[in-house]
């Protein structure tokens, strides 16, 4: 029964707990046991909060017995990326500078998960301050891909994607700034969604690039992702960029799973040279599948998307250099070199040099450069103009089609170490995901099979206009259902990295 519980979807678990067929405590214990048996190899978690999780589960079971109303995720375990503040667990962002830090307040999303009855199992590993595509930038060591433990699980939300893929949790929460939810979902063969920017609160999300950072769900099914999306989203007065509008009807769309008559555009610029053959093969099959399901597929050109990657690597580091100035060793976190002789400025510089990893230092200096007088117009200013042109490309495309599609990433999961000290090679992992971050619209990655050359998962990216997040779920669920039908089982049944369990 224990292993069966970890194989169930979030929707099934919530229903079984509500019906009294199992208890929240049994479900939580089953997942804690699974973490105990596999996380030594996967390293999805930086902190496992067994006592707090069991206490939350006991509370759910009490509410049920007392006949009180249960939240939509009552008793369902969740892996929370370590970038969301939590009053009862450390929040490190994968950085030495915040090692052991326990924040004095909960993020809005932490609070909403608790109110929905979700059981937070612990804090998931990530690239330091969400900068990276592999979790290799975590100061506490990389997570591993459950399909092949020598490969990366993607990043920056790679701990969340690895936990969901390894059946350590049915749901994971991540953040997406340049692809940090969709890319890890893609290379792990699961579902990941970047909601419309402003659709999910950033209050209590340690900031990387404030005009881009977007929290969102990771799950093994499209419906589960929709349930988490619904529970975590919606207007938050504590976030001045939060959209004051209802959450799009994502759960209904995931149940509808129908693409007949839908206009689908294949983005011409996202494919071809530099893409792995097996990725393009599976993507091509997904296009044919959508046509066979009744969608009208055309090719659409978005000419400025080829400049999205360079624009992003000016805008995101610029915002990062400003946001990360707050880590100065004065009020919380690491302090180094305070021996009574050094000035505050000297202590700050020593603290930041000791507390930040190499990628953080690169991006802070790159952003400082791009914002300096004399370079501002040529770099940051120009990148902001390119951002306008990318938004206009999306607007023109969405006049012709309802959704756009592309591969989620140019390659499948790469070996740990391969790109670790080659920043430009690492940045290419986000080639297809960045346009939607710059434009703020919604996008999803759903698995679309395995690349024949390496047997690793390939992701299909679907992009929808701002606040049309429901279309992602409608298309994603249709693709998921058709592929499961054709295959006869879910894709994750073929993951062999933990086969000896």
């Amino acid at each position: 029964m224990t292993s069966e519980l970890t194989r169930m979807t979030a929707a099934e678990l919530a229903a079984a707990i509500a019906a009294g067929e199992t208890s929240a405590v049994e479900v939580t214990q089953a997942h804690l046991d699974r973490i105990g048996s596999v996380d030594g190899r996967v390293h999805a978690f930086l902190h496992v909060a067994a006592d707090a999780a069991l206490a939350a589960a006991v509370a759910v079971d009490h509410r049920r017995k007392a006949g009180e109303p249960l939240g939509p995720l009552a008793g369902v375990p969740v892996a929370l990326k370590d970038v969301f503040t939590t009053t009862d667990m450390p929040t490190t962002c994968g950085s030495r500078i915040l090692e052991g830090w326990q924040p004095p307040y909960d993020a809005t999303i932490t609070d909403r998960l608790r109110r929905a009855g979700a059981v937070i199992l612990g804090k998931a590993n990530m690239d330091e301050f969400a900068m990276g595509s592999s979790t290799e930038n975590s100061a506490f060591g990389p997570s591993r891909n459950p399909w092949d433990l020598s490969r990366v699980p993607g990043g920056s939300s790679g701990g969340s994607s690895a936990a969901v893929t390894a059946f350590e949790a049915p749901l994971g929460v991540g953040t997406d700034t340049g692809g940090s939810i969709r890319q890890p979902a893609s290379v792990c063969g699961i579902v990941g969604v970047k909601p419309t920017y402003g659709g999910s609160s950033r209050y209590g999300v340690v900031a990387f690039a404030s005009s881009l950072d977007t929290p969102g769900p990771l799950a093994r099914t499209v419906l589960d992702a929709a349930l988490l999306h619904q529970a975590m989203s919606g207007h938050d007065p504590m976030d001045s960029t939060s959209i004051d509008a209802p959450v799009p009807p994502v759960v209904a769309a995931a149940r509808q799973a129908d693409v007949s008559g839908l206009r689908v555009g294949v983005v011409s610029e996202l494919g071809g040279d530099g893409y792995q053959a097996g990725v393009l093969a599976r993507f091509g099959e997904a296009v044919e599948l959508l046509e066979s399901l009744g969608a009208k597929v055309t090719e659409v050109s978005c000419p400025h998307f080829t400049y999205a990657l360079p624009a992003y690597y000016l805008i995101a580091p610029s915002e990062c250099s400003s946001n990360l100035a707050r880590f100065d060793g004065m009020r919380y976190g690491l302090r180094v070199g305070d021996d009574g002789t050094r000035s505050a400025e000297e202590v700050m510089a020593l603290t930041r040099a000791a507390g930040f990893g190499p990628e953080i230092k690169r991006r802070i200096m790159l952003g400082t450069y791009a914002l300096s007088s004399g370079y501002y117009d040529a770099y940051y200013g120009k990148a902001q103009q390119v951002r306008t042109l990318i938004i206009r490309d999306f607007e023109a495309a969405f006049e012709q089609v309802d959704v756009l599609i592309s591969p989620t990433t140019p390659t499948t999961a790469f070996p740990i170490g391969e790109r670790a000290d080659d920043p430009i090679a690492m940045y290419l992992a986000d080639l297809c995901t960045i346009p939607s971050d710059l434009a703020g619209n919604a996008a999803i990655s759903v698995p679309c099979g395995l690349a024949p050359e390496d047997g690793l998962p390939v992701g299909l990216q679907i992009m929808a206009p701002v606040l049309a997040d429901d279309r992602l779920y409608r298309v994603g669920a249709a693709v998921e259902a058709a592929l499961n039908d054709r295959r006869g089982h879910p894709l994750l049944d073929e993951a062999k990295g933990l086969a000896d369990d």
Binding site: W101, Q102, P103, P104, Y105, G198, S211, P237, S240, T241, I243, H304, Y307, P310, A311, Y313, L314, D328, M330, R331, Y332, G333, L334, R335, D338, R342, S343, A344, E345, E346, A349, L350, R352, A353, F356, P358, K361, R362, I364, M365, L366, T368, Y369, S372, A378, Y379, K382, A383, Q384, Q385, R387, T388, L389, I391, P423, I424, L438, A439, G440, N441
Partner: protein
Amino acid sequence: MPITRDEVAHLAMLSRLALTDAELDHFAGQLDAIVNAVARVQEVAADQIPPTSHALPITNVFRDDVIVPPLSADAALAEAPAAEQGRFRVPRILAED
């Protein structure tokens, strides 16, 4: 124009990062390569194009100024690297002369 080691040392000073000589050498080459790669944005003809700093057209967001209990001094100081008499203790901020 290439990013020199001296320029990286200046950026490190502005960024309050006390980098080692080995780090300065390593980052100089990498930052130069990254800046060359991202300079591609200058190929785009965008003279009359307005910049976008933020994808959503939201300005002047207000909310009611509701009084809620603040963090206690103890909670605010709980994670301080050093505290004294209910305050953050920091290194000197002014030179001695």
